[in-house]
């Protein structure tokens, strides 16, 4: 069996397009924990996160041509897929199930901070610093949208501010983070 541990992600996807299960297994070895971890964080449910991770890797297997290395790295591509599917799942849930997720995330009193601390230890220091460097209102809007799966309209309702304001906070916050990460030499989600 060919040793693929030295192959680049782009090479692995090319091999997947040629029907190499071993290449898919190597992609899973490299990125499975991140894909599953993000889905688990958004959904707060192991079984649903597993379903999302399965979908993401099966989609890569069935449609590898959807990955375009000129548009970003494979980790970022897979995480984008994982997040989108997790959000689809969370939005299809009954309001009761959704409350469960929110409640679980809010246990131990100041749930928001606990949640954030757990996340802090898992992502890179630079990303934590970039997020914490944002004005509080921008950071809160981004976190409610990304980690809890709310639309920006829902975020506006939760925070009781106009939709246009939230749209602007998200846009400004994301651009600010991009600038910070770029200055630190981080372009997204490189391994």
């Amino acid at each position: 069996m060919t040793d693929l541990s030295e192959a680049s992600d782009a090479q692995l996807v090319t091999l997947i397009a040629r029907f190499s299960e071993v290449a898919l297994a190597e992609v899973y070895r490299r990125h499975g924990g991140a894909v599953y971890g993000l889905a688990r964080k958004v959904l707060n449910n192991q079984a649903e996160a597993e379903d999302v991770a399965q979908e993401v890797f099966l989609r890569l297997w069935n449609q590898p041509e959807r990955f375009d290395p000129s548009r970003g790295n494979l980790r970022s591509f897979l995480l984008t897929q994982s997040h989108a599917r997790a959000v689809d799942t969370i939005r299809s849930l009954t309001s009761a199930r959704r409350r469960e997720i929110t409640d679980a995330a809010s246990t131990a009193g100041s749930g928001y901070d606990v949640h954030r601390e757990a996340w802090d230890v898992m992502v890179s220091e630079e990303v934590v610093r970039a997020l914490r460097g944002l004005p509080e209102d921008e950071r809160r809007a981004i976190e409610l949208a990304y980690f809890e799966g709310h639309t920006y309209v829902q975020v506006a309702q939760i925070l009781d501010v106009p939709e246009g304001t939230i749209k602007g906070r998200i846009r400004n916050g994301m651009r600010r983070m991009r600038g910070d990460l770029s200055r630190q030499g981080i372009q997204g989600a490189d391994r």
Partner: protein, 253 residues
Amino acid sequence: MTHDESAELLAAMALDALDTDSHARVEEHILTCPECQRELDSLREVASALGNTYEAPPEGLWSHIASRLYETDPAETPSLPVFLGDFDPSRPGDRPRARRARGLLLTVSLAAAAAIIVLGLTLSSVNHRVANLENALASNGHNGVTSALATPGHKVVTLSSTDHRVFASFVLLPDGRGYLVKSNMPALPSSETYQLWGVVNGSPVSIGVMGSSPHAVAFTLATSPAPTLIGVTVEPAGGSLTPTHGMVASGEV
């Protein structure tokens, strides 16, 4: 949606924070706006950095994924004639592509499974890469045959029908590649297909589905040991995991 309206929503889109309707309208705009596409890609990288955490996947997750690789999507009918293309077996992983033969790995012997993984059996009619392969074959197939016949060590195998008529002939190369050289195979109704088999240790192993009216066929034999005999059966369109009828023609390798 105007460019400015789209640009305002890209950051929220990168966070998957648009409702279905807005998402669809931005996507439509992006199709014709490279600037918005670039901006969205860039913002998605930022979003992915936020989500770039790690949690050990549960045991068994990979097994579940692996067990579903060959599931058939009911919405797709494997109707195109085969995996054939101008692949190069000397390149690692360069294999003809075939998809979704449900239960394939579970129902054939280990040797047969290994061969079928490589050789392929059925394919998805919606997989445009297969169409690309077929287009490549259409333009390069003849050159492949010509080149194969000029390759040292090539072997021509003639398949004869049970009434001793020449049914088809193939040229096989030492590296395992093979091509259809000549065919007297009568056209079948579209509900049926010719399927090529190699006999390895007495058992038939699928080489590929050739369609109802084969005229250009390329394949790679990757069984070990090499087949002692190759033969053709008539199968339902899409092919079969094991022959459902006797061979209409065969020839020793």
